[in-house]
Symmetry: C2
Subunit: 102 residues, 2 copies
């Protein structure tokens, strides 16, 4: 929740007025514009707003953190994103399991 003088990171980034009903404000502080910028670039503000509004308030922070992680991974690795990380972990798990049960 922010007044127009202390817009949240999402509203500051989009140069919009931040109201007390702003769905982004609790999760995007004004000093972390990059967090919103990445999520915005990959998922878009309207998708994130829709997703948050459909979730219970106690799940929203986890959702934002997972979206931020996914967005960051996609920007680092535009081809595989998070899925690249999943493949690496699956491969490592297979190798360790082979060592364990050989």
């Amino acid at each position: 929740m922010s007044s127009s003088n202390s817009a949240c990171g999402a509203c500051k980034y989009r140069r919009q007025k931040c109201t007390k009903e702003c769905v982004f404000a609790p999760y995007f502080p004004p000093d972390q514009l990059h967090k919103f910028a990445k999520v915005h670039e990959v998922f878009g503000a309207s998708y994130v707003a829709k997703l948050l509004s459909e979730l219970c308030a106690n799940l929203r922070e986890d959702a934002v953190n997972s979206l931020a992680y996914e967005a960051d991974m996609r920007l680092r690795d535009p081809v595989y994103g998070c899925v690249g990380q999943i493949s690496i972990l699956q491969h490592r798990l297979k190798l360790v399991q082979n060592d364990l049960y050989k």
Copy 2:
């Protein structure tokens, strides 16, 4: 590449004319509307078009498949999406490593 009579899955879904320059056509066949629908819901068509246009042609299929997987995971698990899968794999890897090196 599609004529307007055989629009790709992305153009068919968006009810747009599919041209021979369509960036979606090679990766979204007309009989797989659901594949595009999921990617569209989570990432949006313009982000996907931009991402594909910035990649070498030989990497685009992998990119589409990873986007489709991520979108599917996010729709199944709106809070954690792919990141939930990463957490599970990290946890399993830790357990197996503990067994291996105990």
